[in-house]
Symmetry: C2
Subunit: 344 residues, 2 copies
C-alpha cells in the first residue's frame, strides 16, 4: 500500500513527518511512503536517519512550493499548483498512491482533496471526523472544521459517514449519533439545529437526539455531528483547556515540597491521563467523503502523531472506508433525492 | 440593598437558595433578601436554620408557580405569570428590589427580565457574561447563551458591556476584547464572523482581533465575544471536560496504592485546581443589558454558589454597572445610529 506524505506540512516539517514515516515503515511492513516536497530538504533530512532496512520502501517526489498558514485554502490550490500538498493529492488522483497524509494547512488539504478527488457518489460535502477521548473509549466529532456553513442535508451525510467510520475503526456493531446542541429537547437551538434534528430523525442512522457539551464526555453517543464552525471551536477549546488544566495542576504542585513528593509517587496516573488526552495518540483525522483516503494530522504533530496518522491512513484503506460510506448512503438517497447529480 | 431571590429555582431548591441566602445575609450586612416562591415551602426550609440574627433582614413573597425545565422561556413568562422567577423580576421592575438572583431556567429568567425590565438605553439585546478561569485570573465570555442568533451589531453591544463589567468587577483599567473564531486572521470564519470583526474594529472597544479556543485560556484577551449558541457550547464543553479530566485522574490514581499515597500528599494541589475551576466560586452570571440587575446562578448551584451569586448582584448594584454600560454605549451610538428608538 502506497501512502503519499506531505513532507513539508506542519510546524515541524520536514523533521517530524520524516521521522514519523520512518517509524511507520518499520512498524507496518506493507506500507510504502512517497515523500512529497522539496527533494533536497527531504533527502538531507532522510540522511540523518539510518534507513538501510526500509530504503526500498520509500521514494521522493519533488514539489517546489509550500502552502503557508497565511494562504487561503482555495487560493493555495489555484495559485500553488506545485505545492507539496497538491502534488501529494495528485498522486492519489492518478492512482499512484492509496492515501495522502498531511500535517499542513487544513484548508489547503480540504480544498485540494475536494477539488481534485471530488466527493464520493451520494456525498455533497466532505467533513473531518475527529476521535476524542471520553470517560470510556472515544467518540467521533464530525465536522471538525472542513465546512463552516453546511446545510442540514450535509449534516445528515456527516452523520452517516461518521457512524460508518466509527464502527469500522473502533470495531463496534452500532454507533449512536447525537446532534451537538445547547439543550437536549428536540426544539432547542437555532433553526438550523431544529432542521438538522428533523432530518436526522428520519435518516438511516441510530439517532439519539441532541447532546450537550457537559454530557458529551460521558459518551452518551459514539458520533457527535455539528457544523464545522461549532466543531472547530469545540475541538480547540478541548485542546486548550486540557493543556491549561495540566499546567494548573503542575503549578499548584510546585508550591510545596510535600506536594512535589506526592506528585512524584503518583506521576504514573498523570502520564496515563496525558497519554489519554494527547492528540499524538489519535494523530490522524480522516477527511471523510472525498473519493480517496485523505488524513489530516495536527499542525504541531510529533513524529509519533505522524506515524499514527499513517497508521490511520493504512486502516482506512484496508477497511475500505469509502466503499462502506457509499453503501451506507444508498438508503438515504432513495429517501432524499439529491439536489444535483452526484459527483463521482 | 434589597435582593429578590428566586427561592424555587435550581436543581436543589429551595434548600440551596435558602442556605446560600442565609450565608450571604451573614457575610454582607447591607443586604436584605426577599425570598420569592411557595411561601409554605420557603418557611419550612427557613425553619431548619437558626436565623434569629438575620431575621429582620429577610421577607417572603408568595408565588404559586414554578418554571419547569420543559417550559420554553418565552412561554413561561406568558403562561406562568405567578412563577417565582417572574415575581422576583417584578420586584425589580417596581423598585421593591435592587436586583434579582435565580438558579432556575435560564430562558425564563432571560425572557422575564428582557420583557419586564426591557433593555438599557442604547442596548438592543441582553447577554450573559460568564467569568472563566484562565492561566492567570479570569476572562469573561459573552454571550453565554441569552441570544442564540444575534446580529453582528448586537455582538458589538456585547463587547462594550463585557468590557465595562470586566473592568468594574476585576478592577482593571483596560480590557482587551477578542472575537471567538476558528482562526486568528481577520478573514477567518463565517460571514457573520467577518462582519463582527469589521464592526468591532471600528467600535469604541480595545479590540484585539480573533481568538481561538486553544489559546483562550492563556488569556490573550480579558473579554471574549461570540453569539450565544457558540458561547453556550463553549461553556458546557469546558464544564464537561474539566469534570471528566478530574475523574480520569482519580481513576488512574486508584489503580495502584503508591499512586494513592502520592495523591494523598499532593491533594492540596488538586483541591486548589478544583476550587479554581469550580463554578461555585464564580457563581453568578450577570444578564448584562437589561434595565435592572439580574444574576443567573448555575442550575446545580450549591449554597456557596448561591451566596456568591448574591455577592455578584450586590457588587453589580454597588458598582452601578448599568450606568457605566449606558455611558460606554454613547460613543457607539454617535457612530452607529440605532435601527429603532432605544427602549428605556
Amino acid at each position: 500500500m502506497k501512502i503519499a506524505l506531505d513532507a513539508m506540512g506542519g510546524d515541524y516539517a520536514p523533521q517530524n513527518p520524516i521521522a514519523g514515516a520512518i517509524q511507520a515503515l518499520r512498524d507496518f511492513p506493507d506500507v510504502e511512503i512517497i515523500f512529497v516536497g522539496d527533494e533536497s530538504k527531504v533527502r538531507a533530512e532522510l540522511a540523518k536517519h539510518a534507513t538501510a532496512d526500509i530504503q526500498s520502501r520509500y521514494s521522493c517526489l519533488h514539489a517546489s512550493q509550500v502552502v503557508d498558514m497565511s494562504d487561503s485554502g482555495l487560493d493555495s490550490v489555484r495559485r500553488k499548483k506545485d505545492s507539496s500538498v497538491s502534488r501529494a493529492v495528485d498522486l492519489v488522483k492518478s492512482g499512484d498512491a492509496d492515501a495522502v497524509v498531511s500535517a499542513g494547512h487544513t484548508g489547503a488539504l480540504v480544498a485540494a482533496s475536494t477539488i481534485k478527488l471530488r466527493t464520493l457518489p451520494g456525498i455533497e460535502r466532505a467533513a473531518l471526523g475527529v476521535l476524542i477521548p471520553a470517560d470510556s473509549g472515544v467518540f467521533l466529532l464530525i465536522d471538525g472544521g472542513a465546512n463552516i456553513d453546511p446545510s442540514p442535508r450535509h449534516i445528515v451525510g456527516f452523520a452517516v459517514m461518521g457512524a460508518v467510520y466509527y464502527k469500522a475503526i473502533v470495531g463496534t456493531p452500532e454507533a449512536r449519533v447525537g446532534l451537538l446542541n445547547i439543550g437536549t429537547e428536540p426544539g432547542k437551538g437555532t433553526d438550523f439545529c431544529r432542521e438538522c434534528h428533523q432530518l436526522l430523525s428520519e435518516a438511516p442512522v441510530n439517532f439519539a437526539g441532541n447532546v450537550e457539551g457537559h454530557g458529551i464526555f460521558k459518551k452518551p453517543v459514539e458520533v457527535v455531528v455539528c457544523d464545522g464552525f461549532t466543531g472547530n471551536i469545540f475541538l480547540k477549546t478541548v485542546e486548550g483547556l486540557a493543556k491549561s488544566m495540566v499546567s494548573w495542576i503542575k503549578e499548584e504542585i510546585q508550591k510545596n515540597p510535600l506536594r512535589m513528593l506526592g506528585a512524584l509517587l503518583s506521576q504514573g496516573a498523570f502520564k496515563a491521563v496525558k497519554k489519554r488526552t494527547s492528540t499524538d495518540e489519535y494523530g490522524g483525522t480522516p477527511l471523510l467523503g472525498v473519493n480517496g483516503i485523505c488524513i489530516k494530522a495536527h499542525g504541531n504533530s510529533s513524529a509519533l502523531a505522524l506515524r499514527n496518522a499513517i497508521r490511520a491512513a493504512r486502516m482506512a484503506v484496508e477497511l475500505q472506508i469509502n466503499n462502506r460510506i457509499v453503501e451506507a448512503m444508498k438508503p438515504l438517497h432513495e429517501k432524499l433525492p439529491s439536489r444535483h447529480p452526484a459527483s463521482v
